[in-house]
């Protein structure tokens, strides 16, 4: 068994004859980050709205929220990706569809991928946030209403600030999930990190160097997600809650 292991391969010119493999992999990291960040922000914003709808007293809002979540959670992500990429342009009015199809690399792939990951992420984050909202004692909302706040104000000032703090740990794994799911975009031809590693493997035959590099890339990105979320958790910890102690200890002012 002989495998020609060589880390120098990263500095070789890639198949396009201009850039090195390491440059291509870093571009891949860039696309992975761009995808995850846009999808993450969109999922967080819309996920909050859907979570509020699912916990709202209105039957119609609850129904719409539930149908949304069930549809997007129960279809495999890869199938959703194909629906956005292959099916959507056919269903839109003809000039729109043609405009979508004629968009070149990489935007023609990036936009469907972001839409797909955002819609999917929204459903997942909505479920996480809903669990957070429902874990609050009902008295919180009632107290807010008794003070004369409107339902919107109750959510904005009383419920959501507490719910967000509660769900930070599961939210962390959801954000890591979005980074991981972004790799599915390679199936529609977007060269993000996994896609670049796959391309490098195909042309250089240095299979394991390419996939090792991608693995390290994901470990670093997800490590950063964990660190950032730890920071967020400490920053927003409330006095009197368990997280507060950790924050005091860290800043050295605990007695």
């Amino acid at each position: 068994m002989n495998y020609d292991w060589s880390w120098k391969i990263f500095l070789d010119l890639s198949s396009n004859g201009v850039d090195t493999y390491v440059y291509n992999l870093l571009t891949g990291v860039g696309w992975t980050l761009a995808l995850s960040l846009s999808a993450g922000i969109a999922s967080f914003a819309f996920g909050s709205i859907v979570a509020v709808m699912r916990t709202a007293p209105s039957v119609t809002l609850h129904f719409i929220g539930t149908v949304y979540v069930e549809i997007f959670r129960n279809i495999p992500l890869l199938v959703q990706m194909f629906l956005w990429y292959f099916v959507l342009p056919e269903l839109l009015p003809k000039d729109w569809g043609d405009a979508l199809k004629q968009m070149g690399q990489p935007w023609g792939q990036f936009i469907p991928a972001v839409l797909c990951l955002s819609f999917y992420g929204t459903a997942r984050l909505a479920e996480t946030l809903r669990a957070g909202i429902q874990s609050l004692p009902g008295g919180q909302g009632q107290a807010g209403t008794a003070m004369g706040l409107t339902p919107a104000q109750v959510y904005l000032y009383v419920i959501m600030p507490q719910a967000y703090r509660i769900v930070i740990p599961p939210l962390t794994s959801e954000f890591m999930g979005i980074v991981k799911y972004s790799s599915v975009a390679l199936t529609i031809g977007l060269l993000e990190l996994t896609g670049q590693a796959r391309a490098m493997q195909e042309f250089s035959f240095h299979i394991f160097e390419a996939f090792s590099a991608a693995t390290v890339g994901y470990l670093v990105i997800n490590g950063c997600v964990v660190l950032i979320m730890h920071h967020v958790e400490r920053h927003f910890a409330l006095p009197g809650k368990i997280g507060w102690k950790a924050r005091m200890k860290l800043s050295g002012s605990a007695s």
């Binding site: 199938v79 056919e90 299979i207």
Partner: protein
């Protein structure tokens, strides 16, 4: 555009006969073997011996922080070399996409099942283990006969949800050109130029199956809640 239902009806025998059969085989194989391996990993992670718990922890955390697609590629290319290393042959072994997919999903799911079973084991009160040891059972006997059955029952809803996710994730074998349910739909759609119809149909079938399965899991959850 015109939606051609006939294209779907003609494809149904192939879609279910070949595609869905493969998807279900892969799901069942990976779920059952993954659960066994995952339970073993969970017991390892909870072991007081660090030489056992640390490698299990590293394995589980690494698997859980990289994308499944990358894991599929890793094993698809790594397997021939591992095979050659085990059999001591000098040339990479021909493993094939099918076996490689089953091994990949088993090893990948084991990491997720491990975390579920670990939570399950930790949900059983410590006194149960002490009682087992007190009546003269060994550690392994009490694990097998007392702790694990309870852990398994407590975690049945979470395990069910994970199997539904696994069922959806098996569609990713598309990248190995295997003919699972989605792969079958894509092949027929490309042959007949009816991608839109086939993809929409595939999505609807997945939706119906996964939605019904998640209702069943919810029922299980309610029953388990009553039983305790």
């Amino acid at each position: 555009m015109n939606f051609d239902f006939a294209a779907i009806i003609q494809a149904i025998p192939y879609l279910f006969g070949t595609g869905m059969t493969f998807t279900l085989t892969l799901t069942t194989a990976a779920a059952s073997m993954g659960l066994i391996l995952g339970t073993l990993l969970a017991v390892m992670r909870l072991s007081p011996y660090r030489i056992v718990s640390i490698p299990a922890g590293i394995y589980v955390n690494t698997m859980r922080s990289i994308p499944l697609l990358l894991v599929i590629f890793w094993f698809y290319f790594l397997m021939p070399y591992i095979g050659a290393w085990i059999t001591g042959s000098s040339r990479p072994m021909n493993v094939g996409a099918y076996k490689s997919a089953i091994i990949t999903f088993t090893l990948f799911e084991a990491a997720y099942f491990c975390e579920i079973m670990r939570a399950g084991i930790q949900s059983v009160s410590r006194g149960q283990l002490s009682a087992g040891l007190a009546i003269g059972l060994t550690y392994w006997q009490s694990m097998q006969g007392i702790i694990l059955p309870q852990a398994f029952r407590n975690m049945l809803p979470s395990l069910g949800t994970r199997v539904i996710i696994l069922f959806q994730d098996t569609s990713l074998v598309y990248v190995l050109s295997l003919t699972d349910f989605l792969g079958a739909g894509a092949k027929i759609g490309q042959r007949d130029g009816r991608l839109v119809e086939l993809y929409v149909f595939v999505a609807l079938v997945y939706l119906v199956i996964c939605f019904s399965a998640s209702r069943i899991v919810k029922l299980l959850e309610r029953r388990a809640f009553v039983a305790r």
